[in-house]
Symmetry: C3
Subunit: 499 residues, 3 copies
C-alpha cells in the first residue's frame, strides 16, 4: 500500500522538477535578475507567470510546432529572443525607444506598459487581426465622436444646477478612467518622473503615467499602438483557459447596455457550460467540438480555432472577431450591419450626424458591410452551430434573430417618433444635447438598455426571460408608454410654449 503512495508522490515530484528545471534553464539572465527581487515583492504575478506557458517554452520550440496546434503565429522571431522563455525582460524591455515610458531600472531599459506591438513579435497574426477589430479603436470611436461625447457627458459629467436646469461639465480624468474608458481604454501619457524609496533597492525613479492603470480594449499606448492584449489574456498567466471561459468577456459585457454574459449564463449553452465544464479541456489547440467541450463559450463562436472530431477546420481563429458577425446589435441608436472600418468616426448618416443610421432608422449603408458580406459572416458563424444542431434548427434560430433586429428597430423608430414630437414641441432641446433631460433619458433607455438586451437574448439565448421581463420587451413597452404619457400630460396642460 504505502509503496504505491510513495511511488506516486515521487512521480509527481519528479515531473515537477522536470518542468521547473526546463524553464529555469531557458530563463534569460535579465529575467532571472527581475525575478530575484520581484518574486518576493510581487509573488502573485510572478507565480502566475511561472505556471504559464510563457515560462515553459522558448519561441524556438514554439515555432517548431507544426499545423493547427501552433500557437506562435510569427514566421520569424528575433535571434536574441529565440532561445529564452518569454519572461519579464523579454516583454518589458522590447523596443525600448518606441515606448515613452521607458526608464532606467537597475541597468535595464524597462517600460511599464506592454503593448500589442510588443506581443506582435511572436503573435503577428493575432496583432494584425486585432488591429481590424472594432475594439482596437474603442477609444477614438467614443472620444472623437461629437454626438457620443454628448451622451458620455450626460452620464459621467459633473453636475450643477442652473435655475431649474441640471447642467453638465466634462468629468475629470479619474472619473473618465473608471467609467466609459475602463472598457474602451484610456489614452496613456507620460507626464513626469517620480522618485520612490523602495524596500528592495532604495531610491529609484519611475515614470508617472496619466490614464494608468488601464487594460481597456482600445487603450492608446505609449508606443502609439492601440489596445491591450491583457484585457482578455489576463497578466501574467496569459491563460488560454481563462480567455476561453465566459468570465473574461463578462468584465465588459454584463451590464444592461450589453448583457452578453447574463444572457449566456441563462441560456441552454450557459447551463451546459456551468454544469459540465469542469470535465472540459480549455487548453487544447485546436479546440475540438465534442471532444474538448460540448457547448460553446463566448470564445467558441467569436474567436477560437475549432475543428471537428475528424480534425477538419470548422472555424478559423480570429482576433478581428466581427468577421463572424453580420449585425452590430448594440450600435447607437439602431442595430445595423457591421461598419466597414474599425474606425467608426468616419461614419456620417444622411443628415450628417456621426451615426450609422438616421434617427428614423435609415442605415448609412456606404459605411456598412453589404448583404454579400453579411451572408459570408453569417455562414462563418453558423459553421460552428451546425456541429450540434441540424440545418432547420440553425435556420429557425437565425430567422428569429433577424426578425428581432427588425422588430426592435421598429420599436425604436416609434419611440424616436414620439421623442421627435417632444423635441418639435420645444418640450426638450435636441440641439444642445439630445441625451441630457429626464425624458431624453427615458428614450435612451428604450434603445441603449432594452432593445440591446432583447437582441442579445435572441442572439445568444434564442429568447427567454432577458428578452421579456428582465430588461426586455416588457420594459421597452413600458418606457414607450411612459414617454407617450409624459407628452400627453404636457399637451393637456398646454405648457409646451412656456417650457
Amino acid at each position: 500500500m504505502k509503496k504505491v503512495g510513495i511511488l506516486l508522490c515521487m512521480g509527481i515530484i519528479f515531473f515537477q522538477n522536470i518542468i521547473v528545471s526546463a524553464a529555469d534553464d531557458a530563463v534569460s539572465e535579465a529575467t532571472a535578475e527581475c525575478i530575484d527581487c520581484h518574486a518576493s515583492i510581487h509573488p502573485g504575478i510572478v507565480r502566475d507567470w511561472q505556471k504559464s506557458r510563457h515560462a515553459k517554452i522558448t519561441p524556438q520550440d514554439a515555432m517548431a510546432v507544426d499545423g493547427l496546434a501552433r500557437k506562435l503565429s510569427s514566421k520569424n522571431v528575433p535571434e536574441n529572443l529565440k532561445n529564452s522563455v518569454v519572461g519579464c525582460a523579454e516583454c518589458h524591455s522590447l523596443n525600448p525607444k518606441a515606448h515613452a515610458d521607458t526608464f532606467e531600472h537597475n541597468g535595464y531599459d524597462i517600460h511599464v506598459v506592454v503593448s500589442p506591438t510588443d506581443c506582435r513579435t511572436c503573435h503577428a497574426q493575432e496583432a494584425e487581426q486585432y488591429s481590424r477589430n472594432i475594439m482596437s479603436h474603442a477609444y477614438d470611436n467614443l472620444a472623437a465622436n461629437p454626438l457620443y461625447k454628448k451622451l458620455e457627458l450626460s452620464i459621467t459629467g459633473s453636475k450643477t444646477r442652473n435655475k431649474d436646469k441640471i447642467v453638465y461639465e466634462p468629468a475629470n480624468a479619474a472619473t473618465k478612467a473608471e467609467t466609459c474608458y475602463y472598457c474602451h481604454g484610456t489614452k496613456l501619457k507620460v507626464i513626469g518622473t517620480e522618485t520612490r524609496d523602495t524596500e528592495a533597492a532604495g531610491e529609484l525613479d519611475f515614470p508617472i503615467i496619466e490614464g494608468w492603470p488601464n487594460q481597456g480594449v482600445g487603450r492608446v499606448n505609449l508606443d502609439g499602438s492601440l489596445g491591450s492584449c491583457a484585457a482578455c489574456h489576463t497578466r501574467h498567466a496569459f491563460s488560454i483557459e481563462m480567455a476561453r471561459k465566459p468570465y473574461t468577456c463578462k468584465e465588459c459585457h454584463v451590464g444592461p447596455d450589453v448583457p452578453a454574459f447574463k444572457v449566456y449564463a441563462a441560456s441552454k449553452h450557459g447551463n451546459i457550460y456551468s454544469a459540465m465544464n469542469k470535465a472540459w479541456d480549455f487548453k487544447a489547440v485546436p479546440w475540438t467540438i465534442g471532444k474538448d467541450f460540448t457547448a460553446p463559450t463566448c470564445a467558441t463562436c467569436h474567436i477560437s480555432l475549432l475543428v471537428n472530431t475528424d480534425e477538419e477546420v470548422v472555424s478559423e481563429r480570429t482576433h478581428q472577431m466581427n468577421n463572424r458577425l453580420p449585425w452590430r446589435i448594440f450600435g447607437l441608436i439602431y442595430a445595423h450591419p457591421h461598419p466597414l472600418s474599425p474606425d467608426t468616426t468616419v461614419i456620417r448618416n444622411k443628415n450628417g450626424l456621426p451615426l450609422p443610421a438616421t434617427l428614423d432608422g435609415e442605415f448609412a449603408t456606404e459605411y456598412l458591410i453589404d448583404e454579400k458580406e453579411r451572408e459570408t459572416r453569417k455562414k462563418a458563424m453558423q459553421a460552428a452551430c451546425l456541429n450540434c444542431h441540424d440545418t432547420s434548427w440553425v435556420k429557425g434560430h437565425w430567422q428569429r434573430f433577424e426578425n428581432t433586429i427588425e422588430e426592435t428597430n421598429g420599436d425604436i423608430r416609434l419611440a424616436s417618433e414620439v421623442m421627435g414630437d417632444i423635441w418639435r414641441e420645444g418640450l426638450a432641446d435636441f440641439k444642445a444635447n439630445p441625451f441630457d433631460e429626464a425624458i431624453e433619458k427615458k428614450w435612451t433607455d428604450t434603445w441603449q438598455l432594452y432593445a440591446n438586451t432583447i437582441r442579445f437574448a435572441s442572439a445568444m439565448g434564442g429568447g427567454g426571460d432577458y428578452g421579456v421581463y428582465a430588461g426586455g420587451r416588457y420594459q421597452l413597452s413600458q418606457a414607450l408608454l411612459e414617454i407617450n404619457d409624459w407628452l400627453n400630460l404636457r399637451k393637456k396642460m398646454d405648457i409646451s410654449a412656456n417650457k
Copy 2:
C-alpha cells in the same frame, strides 16, 4: 517511477476500452448507421450521447436494477428495444406513425422532435407524473386564456401609434417563439417539405416545422403530446447531474417575474452549493442527504428521490413537482393555493374572469386545492427540510413564508384599489386591455415583478436583499406611491373628465 505512470495510463486506457466496447456491442444496427454520418456532422451531440447513460446500458439491464436505484420506471419495454442501448434510432424512430414530422431518411422513418410519449416507453411513471404538472399545460394555460393574451399582447405585440395612443397588434410567430413561448413551449406544426443538398448524402428531403426549434416545458408536439423532456434533461447527454444542478432551472426561472435562481444563489443553501458542490455526487440514485450532498438544489426540494443515511425514503421522486407546493407564489395577480387541475384555462373567478382570484384578492376556491391538500403538500416539502433543521427552525421559516404571502397579497390589494379608482375615473381603460397603458404597467410591476420577487426570496432564501432592495419591498412600496402620485396629480389638474 516511470513504471507506475505507465501502468496507470494503461489502466485508464483499459477502462476506457471496456466502456466503449460494452456500449458498442449493444448499439443497434440502425443507430450505428446514424452514427456513421452524424459522428462527423454533429460531433457535439454524438459525443454527449456517447458519454451518457443511454449509450451504456440497455433497457433490459436497466430493468434488472432493483429497489430505489432503479431509473427505468416502465414495467415493460418492447422486445425490440430491450437489448440495444438507447441510441439515435431508438428515440427518433419510435411510433413513426404518430409523429407528423416523420420522414424517410436513408431508409428509416425518422422524426425530428422526440416527445414525452416517446420517452414514456421506458420512463412511464415520469411521463405520467409530468402530464399532471402544470408546466405540461404551459402553452394553452397562456395561449387559451383571453386575459393573459391581453397581457402578452401589451408586452410582445407589434406597436404603432394612433393619434396620442400606442396601439398593439399581435406579435408575429418568430417573436412569440422567442418570448413567452420560449419557456411555455411553442405549438409545433409541419407546414411542408424542403430538399437540401447535404454534404454527406447529396439531396435529401426534410420536413419544415413551424415553431421549431423549441424546448419549452409545455411544447405541443407533433404527436399531440405536451412538453419537452429536453427542457431539463438537456439533449443528448440527458445528464441527471445537469438536471439536478440549479442552472437548468435558471433557464426559465431567473427574471424578475420568477427569480428563483437569483434568490437561491444568494441564499445560505446557494452559498453552500456554490462553494462546496464540486465534492458532491450528483449522479447517485437515490440521492442521500448528508452523504451525496449537504445543501439542497432546486431538484432536491421539488423533484428528486431523497433518502437519509439510514436509506429511508425522505421524499418520493416526482415529476408533477407541485405535489410539494401548497401555494402558487407567482400566479396572476395574487399568490393563491395551487390549482386543482394542470389545465388552468377552466378557472373562473367570482366575476367570471379567467383568474384564480378576483381583482381584490378573493380566491376562486373551487378551482384551487383546499386546506387539507395544502397541509399534505406542506408536510411533503418539510420532510426534506427536517433533515438539516429542527422543527422550530422549519416552523419559523414557514410561518414567515405564509405571512409574506398574506402581506404581499395585501399590498397588491391596495395597489389594485388605487388602480380601480384610476379605471373608475376614466384615466385608464380596463375593458379594452387592463395592461397596456403606462400606469397599468406600473400596477403590473407591483404584482408581476415585486410581489413575486418578495415571495421567492421568502420561500427559497428565508429573506434577504432580494426581498428588500433588489426588486422587493422597496420597489413595491415605491411603485405603489408612484401610482398614487400619478392619480393625485391628475385629480389636482381635474383632467379626469377630458382624458
Copy 3:
C-alpha cells in the same frame, strides 16, 4: 494493471479509516449520545460536522500548533474541553446558565442558539475583534436609530390608504425577520415552552424562541452577546474554504444597495477567481499569495491572514474587518470616514440628526475616524494590493476611488438640494418621514442604490459597467433629472400651495 487499481483503492480506504477513527476516539460521551439519534434525524448537518475540522482535532492538539498556522487563538481552554473534539455537546451545552434557551434534553442542559461567547472559548481573539466590528452592532444600529426606523417603516411597513395618502404601520415580527433583520440579525427572546411528540424519543419539551431562525451578523443572542459566527462560518462544517469564497459574503452583499458580490464577479479579480479557483488552496493557514491563490476574494482583502512566498506577514487576520477600511461607502446618506465606535447610535450630525453627515454632506467628524487613522487603514489595505501591483497602479486605483467618493457625494448633495426645495415648497413632508413619498423614494434611489453601486464598482472593480449603466452613473443622472422634472412640472402648475 488491475493490481495498481486495487492498491490505489485500498490506499484510499486506508486513509479514510485513519481519519474516521482518530475522530471517533476523541468524541466525548455526550456528543456520541447526540449523534446516536441525530445522525439519522439530521444527516445533513451531522455529516457536515463529521467532515469538519471540529470533528477531527481536539483543542489540546490545536493549541500545540505553533506560529501563523495556529487556528485556536485562546491561550487556555477549560480542562474538560481540551481532549475531546468539538462536537454537538461541546458547543450546545456550554455556559448553560447564561443562555435563556437552555432546556433539559435527554439528561443534558442544551441550548439551541450557539453564540459568539460560546465560540470565544477557543477563538478569543476573533470574538474580541468581532465585538469591535460594526456588524456586531447591526441590530441596534438600525433598530435604535429613529431616522433609520423611518426608512425601514417606509419599505417594510404595512400599508393602508387614508384619503389620497399611503400610510405605513410598523411591519409585524415575521416581516421584519425576513427583511432588514435577516442580515442585521434579529433580537432573540424565549417566549415559552412547547411539547413535541418526536419520533426518536416520544414527548419532549423545547423552548419557543421569538426571532428564530436567524443568522444575522448582529443577532442579539439569548446570552446577551451580539452576532452569529454562523453568518459566515456556515453550520455545521464551519468551513474556512466556504468563508473564504465570495458566495458567503454574497448572502448579504449582492443587492443594489450594497452590490459587492456583483461588482466583484464582473471585475478582473472576479474573473480570475471564477476561471481558476478550482486549483487554489482555500484551506491553507496562513494564506500565501501566489502559492495558494493568485487573485483576491472578499476574505483576502478584508479578513484573512496573508503571507508572501517568503512567509512574511502581509496582512494580519482581522474579524473587526473595517481596520483596513478608511471609508464607509454605503453609509446613509453620504459616503463618510468610518465611525469611531461600532455602535453608531451615538452619532449626531450638526443638526442633531442621528446621521454621520448633514443633509448637505458635512461630516459629523467627532464621531468618525480622522485622517491619520484613515491613512493607517489605507496602508493596511494596500499592503495586499502591492503583492501583485506596482506602486503606481495602486496609487492610481486609489486616487480614482477617492475621487469617486467625492464626486458621488457631490451628486448626492445636488439631489438633496433639489429635494430640499421640494420640502420647502411643501410638495413633500420632511418632518413626518423624509422617505415615504414617491418623490422621496426617487431621492433615496440616488444615494442608497446608485451612489452606493458606483462606489462599490470603483472600490472593488476599478470601474466598469456597474458604475455606469448597471445601476450606476447613468441611473443616478436619470433619477436626478427626474426629481428636477417633477419639481419643475409642479412649479409650472403652481400647485405647491394647495398640495
